[in-house]
């Protein structure tokens, strides 16, 4: 299977199953409408006839080049990965989303967590529950050395003493178990203080700082309970945290765009101009009936904006103003292995979420959906059958994914979105798919342009 597209002044051909990326000329691009394996010794007459706009000698030459790449198995290569799909069915659990606070001090209008409490009442996680969660992860982690734990909410800083105590506990126990905890915290920043910044920068491998971009965009969707904007409060605090953070540790400012700011590249650049160079801005996923929801009719605008963003990013790079846009980051040579790419985030299998009550869910997005409750830490229960169901939710068990050219880049998408909007974790959420495919096209194009500029291509 191949996927070909024109973008950024390039004709790009992706060989889906080998991961090969080829930049081709217009002749090759046109020829690929007709040429496919098995390749003949010479270009068939009917193909020559189908391309009257091109010189037949050139077409013959080009046909041979395609045949050679096919022979090399970097064009039209077969999908031979289904046999690896069973690899992580009995996987250990290595990542956890700890809902340290089901309460929040903002009232973001698009919040999937029902303004912070996930529809289950405002609660803070007791330290003892957090410690049980650490024990659960350690005991279930098998031979995995790196364990990820994300302090999530609601707003985690509303229960920061518990965060500190749980981190201390985990640091003590990781030594006993020979593990390495990587903590992340996702915060809206309202309660950041110098002390908290110092602790976060010391202990957290990654920090996700929630802000939507331009002040008016942020304040429209991320007000306080009293209706005030949050931008002027959080921006200086985020700046302080980032400025004090070691350069070798990860962090992101992370925003959500909605129908109200389909010109979201302006928000990405607003964040860059405000002093942030690690940026993630992603589309809201919401009931299409809601006014801010992105719907199918918005897709042309969203696509155009991703193209605009990729061009602006390339121009910035040329001018020495580099920044990372999370959703365009892609390593065409040293990315995750094919086995990893069959199953995406690993929710419900390698990754679980824990609520303040100690309930276990496949991920934060499933919290509150009773039918997906996997167990409870106090009761010592865990639904192994459901874990297996999630382990088997790989791309070969998702009908639309197994036919999709982007399957090794998004790896089956978000199971929670699939369930919420399509009624089945195995049914890809089309709207998310369309935007993901556009992001992947842009990401590959950016790498292609950079590669050609460096003169590395062969």
């Amino acid at each position: 299977m191949i996927h070909k597209y024109a973008l950024g002044g390039l004709y790009i051909v992706l060989d889906v199953n080998s991961g090969g990326v080829h930049i081709v000329d217009k002749l090759t691009y046109d020829l690929l409408d007709y040429a496919a394996p098995p390749f003949a010794e010479e270009c068939p007459q009917e193909i020559l006839a189908a391309l009257p706009q091109h010189d037949p000698a050139e077409v013959r030459e080009c046909y041979k080049e395609l045949a050679a790449l096919c022979e090399e198995k970097i064009l039209f290569s077969p999908d031979e990965y289904e046999k690896f799909a069973k690899f992580t069915v009995a996987s250990p659990i290595k990542a956890m989303c700890l809902h340290i606070s089901h309460d929040c001090n903002l009232r973001c209008k698009y919040c999937f967590a029902s303004t912070g409490d996930f529809g289950t009442g405002r609660k803070l996680m007791p330290v003892e529950t957090g410690k049980k969660a650490i024990d659960f992860l350690l005991e279930r982690s098998g031979d995995r050395k790196n364990l990820e734990l994300d302090f999530f909410g609601g707003e985690p800083l509303m229960n920061f003493d518990a965060v500190k105590e749980i981190v201390r506990y985990a640091r003590r126990r990781e030594t006993e178990y020979g593990k390495n905890f990587r903590f992340t915290i996702t915060t809206n920043g309202m309660l950041l203080t110098d002390d908290k910044i110092e602790f976060i920068n010391r202990e957290m491998s990654n920090v996700v700082l929630s802000i939507d971009g331009r002040k008016e965009v942020n304040d429209r969707m991320r007000p306080t309970p009293g209706g005030q904007g949050s931008y002027d409060v959080i921006l200086p605090k985020f700046k302080k945290l980032v400025d004090a953070r070691s350069r070798d540790r990860d962090w992101y400012v992370r925003g959500t765009f909605t129908k109200y700011n389909l010109d979201f590249s302006e928000d990405v650049f607003s964040l860059y101009e405000a002093g942030f160079d690690q940026i993630s801005v992603e589309p809201v996923v919401a009931d299409p009936k809601l006014g801010y929801a992105i719907t199918e009719e918005d897709l042309p605008k969203v696509f155009a904006e991703y193209e605009r963003l990729s061009q602006r990013l390339l121009e910035n790079d040329k001018n020495g103003k580099h920044f990372n846009f999370f959703h365009f980051m892609i390593d065409l040579d040293q990315g995750p292995c094919a086995v990893k790419r069959l199953r995406g985030c690993g929710c419900g299998n390698e990754y679980v979420a824990i609520t303040p009550d100690g309930d276990i869910y496949p991920c934060h997005q499933f919290v509150g959906k009773e039918e997906y409750k996997m167990g409870n830490l106090d009761e010592g229960t865990f639904n192994e059958d459901m874990k297996k169901d999630f382990a088997e939710a790989h791309i070969y068990n998702k009908p639309k994914c197994r036919e999709c050219w982007a399957r090794f880049y998004c790896s089956g998408g978000c199971n929670a979105n699939n369930y919420e909007y399509m009624g089945d974790i195995h049914t890809a959420h089309d709207l998310s798919c369309e935007m993901e495919k556009k992001r992947v096209e842009c990401a590959i194009m950016i790498q292609a342009v950079k590669s050609l500029e460096r003169g590395e291509a062969e």
Binding site: I23, I330, Q334, Q447
Partner: protein, 48 residues
């Protein structure tokens, strides 16, 4: 080649043979909370 430039190693198949160690990051932990993008992660296998 005159008409085609290949810009990467196209090593997905090779990665499968040595892959599946599971040491890499869980993809949805961090800056993307719904828009799964696995391809932007790093391989964390000790010896490739």
């Amino acid at each position: 080649m005159k008409h085609i430039v290949t810009i990467n190693k196209a090593n997905l198949k090779e990665s499968a043979q040595k892959g599946g160690c599971g040491n890499c990051q869980a993809s949805c932990q961090s800056a993307c909370k719904t828009s799964c993008t696995v391809a932007n992660q790093k391989c964390e296998r000790d010896e490739k």
